[in-house]
């Protein structure tokens, strides 16, 4: 009997660190891991259409969640196209017209380069804890890792996804899966994160598979090729003048 009791106490002690975490602590740690002061990355977006796949390559610079600048490198048709996000405003520069166009309204719901991502997906910059009520649903095993399953329900109006479910890796505080729902409960998008790698003392999934549930096709893979964290980025990168340079 004593042995059984000891074993139970031991098991409880082993589990305690995980169970003791609240949903908001998990999300806070995930945000802390994922959000560096600055990020400079080179990435590929492989868009799997019904007729085949195409790859778009870009380089991005971001500072916090509010400022981001992306320059498309390939293919030839996209080369020179630039995107600047400052707070809730987004500009796109096209070398073909030599114009910077600010996107607003329903245009933000359009797909980026025919992918499964919308401009709105790129615009979301508020902390999850500020806009969602968090609830820990339990634990599971995913991609061979123990994960927490969290449910996020909007506590502010006007979000693109009023409900989310996130599977968070317990080792690295990295999301491994995310489901985005409409208010009606319909699944809108599914994100799968894989190939988690260490960048300094942080961990990032280097492949993200986006699947728009409302679109036919095989989804979009976002592949992180290079990532530099907390490096200084000149201020002019987040100024509209960068677009026409």
């Amino acid at each position: 009997m004593k042995k059984i009791l000891c074993s139970l106490v031991l098991i409880l002690f082993t589990m305690a660190p995980n169970w003791a975490q609240t949903a908001s602590e998990i999300i806070a740690k995930m945000d802390e891991n994922m959000n560096a002061k600055t990020q400079i990355s080179r990435s590929q977006m492989v868009i799997h259409g019904r007729r085949g796949s195409r790859t778009v390559e870009s380089r991005s610079y971001s500072e916090g969640n509010q400022k981001a600048y992306t320059e498309y490198l390939a293919p030839a048709r996209e080369r020179g196209t630039k995107m600047l996000k400052l707070g809730d405003r987004l500009w796109i520069y096209s070398p073909a017209t030599d114009r910077s166009i600010q996107l607003s309204g329903h245009m933000l719901r359009q797909s980026v380069m025919g992918s499964d991502l919308s401009y709105e997906d790129m615009m979301e910059d508020r902390k999850m804890q500020d806009i969602y009520s968090l609830r820990l649903l339990g634990e599971e095993e995913l991609q061979g890792q123990r994960v927490w399953v969290l449910e996020l329900v909007a506590k502010v109006e006007g979000l693109s996804y009023p409900k989310r479910k996130i599977w968070v890796d317990q080792r690295y505080y990295v999301p491994l899966k995310e489901e985005l729902y409409a208010k009606s409960g319909q699944l809108l998008k599914e994100l799968t994160f894989s190939e988690v790698k260490a960048f300094g003392d942080r961990y990032y999934p280097t492949i993200t598979h986006y699947k728009d549930a409302l679109k036919k096709g095989k989804g979009t893979d976002f592949i992180l090729l290079e990532l530099a964290l907390d490096e200084a980025i000149p201020e002019h990168y987040f100024n509209k003048s960068i677009l026409k340079r």
């Binding site: 259409g49 019904r50 195409r54 114009r99 166009i101 025919g114």
Partner: protein
């Protein structure tokens, strides 16, 4: 006998004038109503054909499944050779590709900053090949509110409400942002050369019309086509002919497993227009049926009354020795002649009215100015073969039936009572 009866009808006009007039009016209204309804339904279908469906349309199978979303990424490849094939195989039709897509119009101020923006619905037509008749088909010249049609590359037309909202003037340039057929971002500058007003709010507030070549460049769709529309050269939709052509074309593609293989759909098979055509025909038949029935009852009643009014005359004729059968036959032939004359006059005037409205129509342009529904602004009648008999036969038979029924009384009269009745 007929000559004798005609003489009677002509001399005793109090007996024939009103029956002929009533028959003629009834037949006229039936013919006119039928012709006008046929014309209006036909115009609505033709409007759909001109703007959207064509008499026949060729798309890829994958595109056809989602046609209402205009998924240009599922367009047909090697469209030039397909177009050449269609033109060779089906020369009775004019084949023309069209493109539709959405985009964002951005008008810049002097500093190059966004001054105004608006979402655009772009329609691209082959305006550089006049023999295809696209400008006439969409009535562009008449709808031109100001400016001219595009002649050079990068020239476009814009809906009047759209242009007013953006505050753009003729000759000004603007940027259009959208996606290529593969989803890449696409940007081009265009010059506004004309403002159009179709009178339909839904079109006028967001439409942009450009030349097909410009749209192909914008969408990166060289040698690709989203929709190839076919129009009968005689300009009238033939259900049977369209069905035969579509079935023949699709049968030739039946063994092709490619989801991007071409498929041909007739007007009836698109946008639930088949259901609409059936519904329109059923409604038309029902309304005309009710009208014909009402007219028949009136004419029948008139024949009946006419027969009863002549009760005394028949008594005298019987008393003078005329056979009952002969009187009955004379009565029937007489009503047939009256019915025939009335129906002939009614059909003639009805056809004349229909012909007039087929040529000139009723212009409701002003009434439909703020309409949200895509309707033709001029309602026209249509002359069809069935107008020759749709009023004529009921007009002829109804009065005959009335007289035949009233005439049965002749056989119930006995010679013994005749003189008593006449004395009274």
């Amino acid at each position: 006998m007929i000559y004798f009866l005609l003489k009677g009808i002509w001399r005793d006009r109090s007996r024939s004038f009103f029956p002929i007039l009533v028959t003629a009016m009834g037949v006229l209204l039936t013919v006119f109503l039928s012709g006008f309804m046929q014309g209006v339904f036909n115009d609505i279908i033709e409007q759909n054909a001109r703007l959207e469906t064509g008499h026949l349309k060729v798309m890829s199978r994958a595109y056809a499944e989602l046609a209402s979303q205009k998924p240009n990424d599922l367009a047909l490849y090697e469209a030039d050779s397909l177009l050449a094939h269609l033109r060779q195989e089906y020369p009775e039709l004019i084949w023309t590709p069209r493109l539709r897509f959405g985009g964002l119009v951005d008008l810049a101020n002097a500093q190059g900053e966004t001054k105004a923006q608006g979402p655009a619905n772009v329609t691209a037509l082959d305006l550089s090949t006049p023999s295809l008749g696209e400008a006439q088909r969409l009535n562009l010249q008449k709808s031109l509110y100001k400016g001219r049609l595009p002649e050079q590359p990068q020239e476009v037309l814009m809906g009047e409400e759209f242009a007013r909202r953006l505050g753009i003037e003729l000759g000004q340039s603007f940027s259009l942002m959208g996606s290529t057929m593969e989803g890449s971002m696409s940007f081009r500058n265009y010059q506004l050369v004309g403002v159009i007003r179709f009178g339909v709010v839904a079109i006028d507030r967001s439409s942009l019309i450009m030349n097909l070549a410009d749209a192909e460049d914008f969408l990166d769709m060289q040698d690709a086509a989203a929709e190839i529309l076919g129009y009968f050269k005689h300009n009238s939709y033939s259900v049977k002919q369209a069905k035969i052509i579509a079935e023949g074309f699709n049968a030739a593609q039946a063994d092709n497993p490619d989801e991007f293989a071409p498929i041909m759909l007739s007007l009836r098979a698109q946008n639930n227009l088949g259901q609409y055509v059936d519904y329109a025909n059923n409604m038309s038949t029902l309304i005309i049926g009710i009208f014909v029935l009402a007219m028949s009852i009136v004419l029948w009643n008139m024949g009946l009354l006419g027969g009863l009014r002549r009760y005394k005359e028949f008594g005298i004729r019987l008393a003078l020795g005329e056979a009952k059968g002969q009187i009955y036959a004379a009565l029937c032939i007489e009503s047939l002649l009256i019915g025939g004359l009335g129906s002939f006059l009614g059909t003639l005037v009805g056809l004349g009215l229909c012909y007039y409205l087929q040529l000139y129509g009723i212009d409701l342009d002003g009434a439909l100015e703020q309409s949200n529904v895509m309707m033709p602004s001029v309602f026209r009648a249509k002359l069809t073969v069935e107008l020759l008999y749709i009023g004529f036969i009921p007009g002829l038979l109804a009065s005959l039936l009335g007289s035949m029924l009233a005439g049965l009384g002749i056989y119930q009269r006995s010679t013994a009572n005749l003189f008593k009745e006449l004395e009274a």
